[in-house]
């Protein structure tokens, strides 16, 4: 986005922005607490031996001493509320337990795996926005053919399932043309196909929303005003209309981050890629409860951060919002 799209605040405006961040962080902590609580009680309701769930799932064979130690640590012989208290205490101290499927502490598993997932999510988000903006700026309200072509392409892109697209990309560009490696290890080449698999459907979706608001913006009198100053069509679009048009897309981006992480589960499995998605898949299939809780909490945090960022970005683009919030 060009610098003209953002309005950086100063002085009083900065203070109010800080206030807004503080409120969001506070709300985020509450959401996190709620998420942890729901996870805790949901697991209490699932059938099975809680000791075995912690110690290695249905196939584990722990010694009696280990079982006794675990019952003590988790307070499993004490009232539910105490167990809940101990659970929160462990979370706050960062002790998420040991993942038996990965044979190491949950915290270190998460630390290793979050990087690739964030990298994939971020690159997919950037590419999705880039594709959406090119399509929208290039084809909205041009000649009839170009506009229809643009919106048709967006509709098709938005309706592609991401896992299906991943398989097609894999078949064509990795196995067929051999342009990219089929297994996505480190490096840029490995990132291309998974990114496109996630980004193309999202781009179609963002473009549809942005196109509609760009059309509305282009009908506004201030656009005519800008043209009467001698601005070119492209300058009018980039400097005036675009800023109004990206607002709904920014709001949706927070939601899109959540959806991207969800879809990363499939894409990471398909491309044999490191990441939270693949770990979550393994944790769930092997009933690795500590790791499942850990991944859930991390995804919640990512989602909270993303929606806070989207909120701040929105205010930077549309400073009128700030004036309306107290």
């Amino acid at each position: 986005m060009s610098a003209g799209v953002l309005a950086f605040p100063s002085g009083d405006g900065l203070g109010r922005l800080g206030q807004r961040v503080a409120i969001r962080v506070l709300v985020g902590i509450l959401v996190l607490l709620a998420s942890a609580t729901i996870t805790f009680f949901a697991l209490k309701l699932t059938p099975g031996d809680p000791v075995r769930a912690v110690l290695g799932g249905p196939t584990a064979n722990p010694s009696p001493e280990t079982i006794a130690a675990t019952i003590r640590e988790f307070g499993l012989d004490r009232p539910l509320i105490v167990q809940y208290g101990l659970y929160l205490e462990r979370l706050v101290s960062g002790n998420l337990g040991v993942s038996f499927s990965q044979r190491q502490p949950v915290a270190s598993v998460l630390a290793q795996q979050i990087g690739p997932t964030l990298q994939l999510t971020a690159s997919a988000m950037l590419v999705a926005w880039a594709l959406a903006l090119v399509s929208v700026i290039g084809t909205t309200r041009r000649n009839r053919f170009l506009s229809a072509f643009g919106s048709g392409l967006e509709a098709v892109a938005a309706s592609l399932p991401q896992f299906w697209l991943a398989l097609v990309l894999l078949a064509v560009f990795a196995f067929g043309l051999k342009w990219f490696p089929p297994q996505s290890r480190d490096g840029f080449a490995g990132l291309v196909l998974p990114t496109l698999a996630l980004a193309i459907p999202l781009a179609g979706f963002l473009a549809q929303v942005t196109r509609e608001s760009l059309e509305l913006a282009l009908d506004q009198p201030f656009i005519l005003s800008a043209r009467t100053r001698g601005l070119s069509d492209l300058a009018v679009r980039l400097r005036h209309a675009l800023r109004h048009a990206v607002l709904p897309g920014i709001s949706l981006s927070a939601w899109a981050v959540g959806s991207l992480i969800g879809n990363a589960v499939l894409v990471e499995v398909i491309f044999s890629r490191q990441g939270l998605g693949r770990i979550l898949y393994q944790a769930v299939t092997r009933q690795d409860i500590p790791l499942t809780i850990g991944v859930t909490l991390v995804v919640t945090i990512v989602y909270i951060v993303a929606s806070t960022l989207a909120d701040l970005l929105f205010v930077l683009v549309d400073p009128r919002i700030k004036a309306a919030t107290r």
Binding site: A7, Q220, P221, F222, L224, S225, A226, R227, T228, R229, G230, L231, S232, A235, R239, H240, R243, H244, V317, D318, P319, R320, A323, A324, R326
Partner: protein, 549 residues
């Protein structure tokens, strides 16, 4: 760059495509000379705005433009490429639109818009542009330019942002300035300030082309008037000739429709003794402002509305007239004071507050008409359903709806087949008639009219005001009539309240107040309202094209 004329000869413009393609401007000619102001006047749809846009090459995609001569200075404007037009726009011909709140980018500080006007033509460098921007704000009379440059249109008052918009058009000192309805939707005192700014532009040797439907404004500034009607020029000449001794019937119709230009028909004096319907005593309402400081929007306002009478509330935007009306309608509770309807408590503050459940049986006695009826209609409902819905609320059995809808349409002088039309298919005047039909559907005793004619052309305004008056005589309904337009208020009201900053500064019988205003603000309001030179021919104007609009 001053000293160049804009010459238009036999200009025609066609718009639309396929079967709907039609000529919206037909063979019009005029010349804008340096230091002179030409006014294009006419109602909406007369082709005046299209003409203005054509002169900067922005008539729109697919517009067909032809002329025997279209010349700016030495430049032939016919067949310019898009790039050549861009070089001309802003630099040689400046353009001002109405309503700076939406004609300036609402997300950007006004200073940035000004700087853009300069940089679009590569003028100066970063430092000199900033300097020039501040000069321009100063030139159009904006105090504290340093501060204002950083503010967005919504942070500026109507007058200041309209000046900022004018400044963007003047940025590169263009020889010709085109202003499309530059004072429409502004309060009269602000209107007077803007006219002064435009007057100064003219005195600096610019050629000014003003597009307006407001003849009073035109008479203040134009040297030459071109009257347009459905794409044709019906009359043109020096201002005093066209407005003082109009030759064409359409010009006379326009002049005769200007509110306040008509002689106020003396209302029947005996009406004074009709019973009181609505009485408001000592209403106050405070809202928290954006900076958390409290703002008293309505401050100790009292009034009485008698049966079959009209109480006009006049004031500038932000004076509290709409809030007062909402309290009267029982939509907003006051902080202090109370409203009684037919002698019983209707809306009150604190522990006397009336619950909506208690109010609901009385709701059919109230009707409302807004400035923009379109936004108060569901666009997916046709006229029949809109009216039928209002009848439902009034408790009329379904079986009688069709007959009642037809009679309502007849009351507002629309043919019965309009029940099948959609709001978007109707003209502004027709929509307002539907809004009136909806307001009278439940046989109300009180109708609150909030700027009901402000968005309408003068001749349509006259028709709607006439209709409102006729309905009052037929139905005996009372109006609480809000407007910023003194002419309209004078025309319709029996009594007038003048509001300023939430307080009533003056009240009285309409003619007394207009002839002999007591408060200084009322006098200023009256003085700033543009007046027409007394027309000589207004009386015989009604025979021309008075189809329902």
């Amino acid at each position: 760059m001053s000293g160049q004329s804009l010459i238009v000869e036999d200009l025609s413009v066609t718009l639309g495509n396929g079967a709907s393609r039609r000529r919206v401007v037909r063979d019009i000619s005029f010349t804008v000379e340096p230091g002179k102001a030409v006014a294009l006047v006419g109602e909406s749809g007369s082709g005046k705005s299209v003409t203005a846009r054509t002169l900067v090459g922005l008539a729109g995609a697919g517009a067909g433009v032809s002329a025997t001569r279209l010349q700016f200075g030495e430049t032939d404007l016919r067949g310019l490429t898009d790039r050549q037009w861009r070089g001309l726009r802003g630099k040689d011909i400046g353009f001002i639109l109405q309503d700076a709140l939406v004609s300036l980018d609402p997300l950007r500080p006004v200073g940035d818009e000004l700087i853009e006007a300069l940089s679009a033509h590569g003028w100066g460098n970063r430092e000199t542009r900033r300097q020039r921007m501040l000069e321009l704000l100063d030139l159009v009379g904006i105090p504290e330019p340093q501060l204002r440059a950083r503010q967005r249109p919504d942070q500026l008052s109507g007058g200041l942002r309209q000046r900022a918009l004018i400044a963007t058009a003047l940025a590169l000192d263009p020889a010709i300035v085109i202003a499309d309805e530059p004072t429409t939707a502004l309060d009269t005192t602000v209107q007077a300030q803007i006219l002064k700014v435009l007057q100064a532009v003219k005195q600096r040797g610019k050629g000014l082309l003003i597009i307006s439907h407001d003849l009073a404004v035109v008479s203040q500034i134009a040297d030459h008037v071109v009257v347009m009607h459905q794409g044709d020029v019906v009359e043109q000449g020096p201002t005093e000739q066209v407005l003082g001794r109009p030759r064409h019937a359409y010009t006379r119709l326009l002049l005769g429709s200007v509110p306040g230009a008509r002689r106020h028909k003396a209302r029947i004096a005996s009406k004074d003794q009709t019973p009181i319907v609505l009485e408001a005593s000592n209403l106050s309402k405070t809202y928290a402002g954006p900076d958390r400081s409290d703002r008293r929007v309505v401050d100790d306002v009292s009034f009485t509305l008698r049966s079959g009478q009209t109480l006009g509330i006049v004031g500038e935007s932000g004076s509290g007239k709409t809030t007062a009306a909402r309290i009267a309608l029982g939509l907003v509770g006051p902080d202090r004071g109370e409203v009684t309807f037919d002698g019983s408590r209707w809306n009150a503050a604190g522990k006397n507050a009336v619950s909506e459940r208690a109010r609901r049986p009385q709701r059919p006695h109230f009707g409302v008409i807004y400035q923009d009826p379109l936004s108060s209609f569901d666009p997916r409902w046709n006229v029949g359903r809109i009216l039928s819905d209002a009848l439902d609320a009034g408790g009329l059995p379904r079986s009688q709806h069709a007959a009642r809808v037809a009679s309502l349409l007849e009351r507002v002088r629309l043919p019965a087949e309009y029940a099948g039309r959609w709001p978007l298919q109707l003209s502004g005047g027709q929509r307002q008639r539907i809004a009136i039909a909806r307001a009278i559907a439940s046989n109300p005793k009180v109708i609150v009219c909030d700027e009901p004619v402000s968005a309408l052309d003068v001749s349509v305004q006259k028709q709607v005001l006439d209709l409102l008056r006729e309905l009052q005589d037929e139905l005996g309904v009372s109006y609480l009539f809000i407007s910023h337009d003194l002419g309209v208020i004078r025309e319709i009201s029996d009594e007038v309240l003048v509001m300023l900053d939430g307080r009533v500064v003056e009240r009285g019988a309409t003619e007394d107040l207009f002839i002999n205003p007591q408060h200084e603000f009322t006098r200023r309001l009256l003085a700033s309202a543009p007046h027409l030179p007394q027309p000589n021919a207004g009386a015989h104007a009604t025979d021309f094209n008075t189809s329902i609009v």
